[in-house]
């Protein structure tokens, strides 16, 4: 009943489904190695689960005795849906759930089972019209061509030009279209009952995935990728900010609202310089507060002190602190900081939090983003610093990240002068961080203090940047970083935001 012409079209079906199947597998493997790290392990696991699931599918196919064409189309649709949404679902879910691996392998397994069902069914449909030798050789040929196409185009074309999310949706659409045109190809084998419904379902699935494809811009845009200068391996839009992680040959980078927060290659310089001066200057610190720093990298440095009994981290965005725990490469970079029982995460606007009553701390690390907006600018005001003082033990040291004193000297000195205006004794210092340039910090205390820190033997664990001599040198200001006057940053003038805006715009 199926004449010659559609028969060759059926081989095209084989080609298409073979390509789709392998693409889903590659997607899962790539995605897992992005977010969990360790690509060899992830890829082997994904391939293993996928192949064994295919075996399960092939085995199950024997239980399908009649209505083969109908089953085939249904399976295509299911595959379109699960395979199509696999990458976006995994991307969106992983910072939020604790069962990411079960979800990942569950999806890989379902896809594998469905793909495993496809070919046996198709071969049984075709066996009426071909002798067995022909059948096996032709179907397998197209299957292998499909696999070849997928494995070549995936890295060359799809990942760089579409990204994982859109590739996934695109192949889902292709799968759904195969289902739709199969209702015509295999028409003679299908009963007319429910046929229209089936076609409509295929169309609806295609359209849904199509909408997803065009909306995927909200997940990752290529424009953004170009702007950030690396391939985006993760992005999300939290209610507070846009978080993106990019990968370059060496290391990965975190961006918040398009601004680089750290590069895994040299972040240790920044975080050692930020944390240790405040931790070393005094009695061994027991209770420490970090504000901002949701990446957990400053926490990592604080955990190098055995005197530490409690550490509170106040960061606005739960998406950020979750990510630092769940995104395996970052979790590894911060040494599993958020799994330490001493660490308590508070997701709240630090400005609101600091205004509430609470305990006093031995050391405070302030790692807010640069003051590029009013909602961050308020965190560097006299009001904020005065409220902070109520949370300090008398001799407590506070270290503050203060943007680049070289690019934005007015902004830098505005922060220093604002701290001073509230009664802090302040020691400005700086450190070179290749990804950032020369970076500025301030060490402050309500008591007089000496910036020559105590020896480093208190630090347990390795320091890669600081030595006693280097640390001393950070407090020496070179000729081009000399102090200057500035307005004081207050809530009702936000002078800092204005300085920052004009200085960084000028430098761009």
């Amino acid at each position: 009943m199926i004449n010659r012409a559609p028969l060759s079209l059926l081989y095209l079906n084989v080609l298409a489904i073979a390509t789709c199947g392998l693409i889903y597998e590659l997607l899962a493997g790539t995605l897992a190695s992005y977010v969990l790290g360790d690509s060899v392990t992830q890829f082997s696991f994904v391939i293993g689960v996928y192949l064994s699931a295919m075996g399960v599918g092939a085995w199950l196919s024997q239980y399908i005795l009649s209505n083969l064409a109908r089953y085939f189309i249904e399976i295509e649709l299911a595959l379109a849906l699960i395979g199509g949404v696999s990458a976006p679902v995994l991307f969106l879910a992983f910072p939020w759930i604790d069962w990411f691996r079960p979800l990942l392998f569950g999806m890989v397994f379902s896809i594998g089972v469905l793909v495993g069902l496809e070919l046996p069914l198709l071969m049984r449909i075709l066996k009426e019209y071909l002798d067995f030798g022909d059948l096996v050789s032709r179907v397998l040929t197209f299957d292998y061509i499909g696999a070849l196409l997928a494995s070549l185009l995936f890295p060359i074309l799809f990942v760089p030009y579409l990204g994982l999310v859109r590739t996934s949706l695109l192949f889902g659409m292709l799968n759904a279209l195969v289902a739709w045109w199969s209702t015509y190809l295999l028409r003679p084998l299908l009963s007319s009952r429910g046929l229209e419904r089936l076609r409509w379902r295929a169309i609806v699935v295609t359209l849904l995935l199509g909408v997803g494809f065009f909306k995927a811009d909200q997940l990752t845009t290529l424009a953004e990728e170009n702007a950030l200068g690396g391939k985006i391996i993760f992005t999300t839009h939290s209610p507070y900010q846009r978080i993106a992680i990019t990968q370059k040959r060496l290391g990965f980078q975190l961006f918040l609202n398009g601004h680089l927060q750290f590069n895994s290659v040299d972040e240790y310089r920044y975080h050692e310089a930020l944390v240790h001066p405040a931790m070393l200057g005094n009695e061994p610190p027991r209770h420490v507060l970090i504000m901002g720093g949701g990446d957990g990298l400053a926490v990592r440095e604080c955990l190098k002190y055995s005197s530490l009994e409690s550490l509170s981290l106040v960061d606005l965005d739960p998406a950020m602190t979750q990510l630092s725990k769940k995104f395996e490469p970052l979790n590894r970079l911060n040494h599993g900081a958020f799994s330490d029982p001493r660490v308590k995460v508070i997701n709240e606007d630090a400005f609101i939090w600091i205004g509430k009553p609470g305990p006093q701390y031995d050391a405070v690390i302030i790692d807010f983003p640069d003051p590029g907006s009013y909602s961050v600018g308020k965190l560097y005001t006299t009001r904020f610093f005065r409220l902070l003082q109520k949370r300090l033990k008398p001799a407590a040291l506070v270290s503050v990240q203060c943007t680049s004193p070289l690019v934005a000297p007015k902004s830098y000195w505005c922060i220093v002068r604002t701290l001073e205006a509230t009664g802090f004794h302040v020691r400005p210092y700086h450190a070179p961080v290749p990804s950032f340039g020369i970076w500025g910090f301030a060490l402050a205390s309500m008591s007089e203090f000496d910036s020559t820190p105590l020896p480093f033997d208190r630090v347990q664990g390795e320091l890669r940047f600081l030595t006693n001599d280097v640390l001393k040198g950070l407090f020496e200001l070179p000729a081009d970083l000399q102090p200057m006057d500035s307005e004081i940053n207050r809530l009702d003038n936000q002078a800092l935001v204005h300085y920052y805006d004009s200085e960084w715009n000028r430098s761009d």
């Binding site: 209610p239 507070y240 907006s373 009013y374 308020k378 207050r490 809530l491 009702d492």
Partner: protein
């Protein structure tokens, strides 16, 4: 019934009406239409039927009628002078009048008045109150109050939506021509000149409270013409300048330019400039607006305060020296019974237009008419949002204005608390500046909550297309007779001057006695009336 389009057109103006086509009528889930208790108003008319039982009479030396800023300030002053033998009677369950605020969960928001400007050294009593509240932390050597940082309006303070983008500031500078900007700077220079002017006694021409300013004939002459005609005489033509100045008049007086006295129009700008170099005195505000001051005053006075008391009748004594000779009858809403007070002195801290309704034989005895006291009506909506709306341009400010709309835009209650994300309450203001152009006032009164909510959201969607999807609740307050109008000739006319003179044992205190509605004025009259009472008791 009026069509939706016509309604929007007449209430919001052209720009809003033009976008109605694309905005469906989507009404939020919840909300209420609030306003003065109408049933109780009728009782005021039928007051003669209210006779308190014998046991329901009390003798209290001083009674304050009305618990707005004026009444509460009078109480504050009495207490400050060591006098505690008084009772304050307020009709509503909540004190504060047009300075009251609301609270939902952790959110506080104003129901009308929402800010003051930092007082000048001349306004010592107010500085004293603010010091007591911890708002003024210090006073500099030249008498200038130093306000605590977190009570000064946080930057960014104000922005304006014009041609599809938000820009910083109140003046619609985006797209303004050279000539527009030239006229704006001429206007600013002129206001600065008025602000620097002093009369022969060294008083400022324009000052708050106005009683501390000058009555020099050059200043008073301005009261005889409208702001519109005065501006025309200066040769100004820029529509943006007229819009900007009219915004000020609508904001402070609920009046359009042609019905605002030029004296009042200039006062709005010049009374708030202390020196030539500083554009305007800093704004002081709280999440609950001026409700914060109400909260302070009520916490100071708690023992003397009685809410839910509709004062229906005040009868002056035959002989002024008769002890406890003045009677005050109120209707206790909760007990649903009249109660009576015999007092030596009464402070009448209600708007003047109520005097003939409440004080027995007021017009006949005093020969005063209250017809000259005209008031603007307002609509205030508190829009509860689950998140911040999308927008384009300069970020969300405390005060957010829509150029071209007849509304005054909205104030963000969470701004001052430093809360920049998530749920918020926006307080939206609408003065009925030209009710006459509406088919009729009655029709307006017939509009229900859903009609008003629709209107509020239509106006806000001009700048925030997605606002409807974020709104969880819209509560609407209709304020009738809410704001005294400084129309030409009123502030410096005879009726206002006469109204503040005591009627025997009855002293008057309300912002309308100044002809302008501001906290500074209500406070001034409250303190002044209390001082009169203290003086009378001393003699």
């Amino acid at each position: 019934m009026i069509s939706r389009r016509d309604l929007f057109h007449s209430l919001l103006g052209i720009s809003a009406a033009s976008m109605i086509g694309c905005g469906p009528r989507v009404i939020p889930l919840q909300g209420e239409l609030l306003g003065p208790d109408i049933g109780l108003g009728h009782r005021l008319r039928d007051r003669l039927s209210l006779v308190p039982a014998h046991a329901d009479w009390q003798e209290i030396p001083v009674i304050i009628v009305g618990g707005g800023i004026a009444g509460l300030s009078a109480g504050w002053r009495l207490q400050q002078a060591g006098f505690h033998d008084f009772v304050l009677l307020e009709l509503e369950d909540q004190f504060g009048g047009t300075s009251r605020s609301g609270i939902t969960g952790s959110f506080q928001y104003p129901w009308a008045a929402h800010y003051i400007t930092t007082p000048m050294p001349e306004n010592m009593p107010l500085i004293q109150l603010l010091q007591e509240m911890g708002v003024v932390e210090d006073i500099s050597a030249d008498g200038v109050p130093v306000v605590a940082e977190h009570y000064l309006c946080r930057e960014p303070e104000e922005r304006i939506f014009c041609d599809g983008v938000w820009n910083e500031g109140l003046y619609p500078g985006h797209g303004a021509s050279r000539d527009d900007l030239q006229q704006k700077s001429e206007f600013d220079a002129s206001m600065s000149t008025w602000a620097q002017k002093r009369d022969a006694q060294g008083r400022r021409f324009f000052s708050l409270p106005i009683a501390t300013g000058s009555d020099d004939s050059e200043a008073i002459a301005l009261d005889n013409e409208s702001m519109l005609s005065w501006m025309n005489r200066q040769g100004w033509t820029s529509p943006r300048l007229f819009w900007y100045v009219e915004y000020g008049c609508r904001d402070d007086y609920g009046l359009p330019l042609d019905r605002t006295s030029a004296w009042a129009g200039i006062l709005y700008f010049a009374a708030r400039m202390r020196t030539a170099s500083k554009d305007s005195q800093d704004v002081i505000t709280w999440p609950s607006g001026n409700g914060h001051i109400v909260q302070h005053l009520t916490s100071r006075l708690s023992d003397q305060l009685r809410s839910g008391q509709l004062v229906c009748q005040i009868v002056p004594p035959h002989n002024q020296d008769e002890p406890f000779g003045t009677t005050v009858v109120a209707y206790d809403k909760q007990r649903q019974q009249p109660i009576g007070f015999r007092a030596d002195r009464v402070i009448f801290a209600l708007p003047q237009f109520l005097a003939p309704h409440v004080i027995q034989d007021f017009s006949a005895r005093t020969g005063r008419s209250t017809a000259d006291f005209q008031y603007s009506s307002w609509l205030v909506a508190n829009v509860h949002l689950r998140g911040r709306p999308q927008e384009n341009g300069f970020p969300l400010c405390w005060d957010n204005i829509l150029y071209g709309s007849k509304s005054l835009g909205y104030v963000v209650s969470t701004h001052q608390s430093g809360n920049d994300y998530g749920p918020s309450v926006f307080t939206w203001y609408y003065p009925f500046t030209d009710i006459s152009s509406m088919q009729s006032r009655e029709k307006l009164l017939k509009l229900g909550w859903a009609d008003w909510a629709d209107l509020v959201l239509a106006d806000l969607s001009l700048a925030h297309p997605d606002i409807r999807s974020l709104v969880t609740r819209v509560d609407i307050m209709r304020w009738g007779h809410a704001m005294i109008q400084p129309y030409p000739g009123f502030v410096w006319g005879p009726a206002r001057k006469a109204a503040a003179i005591p009627d025997g044992t009855i002293h008057f205190a309300n912002t309308d006695l100044s002809g302008i509605a501001l906290l500074e004025e209500a406070f001034y009259h409250g303190v002044r009336a209390a001082d009169e009472v203290l003086l009378a008791r001393a003699s």
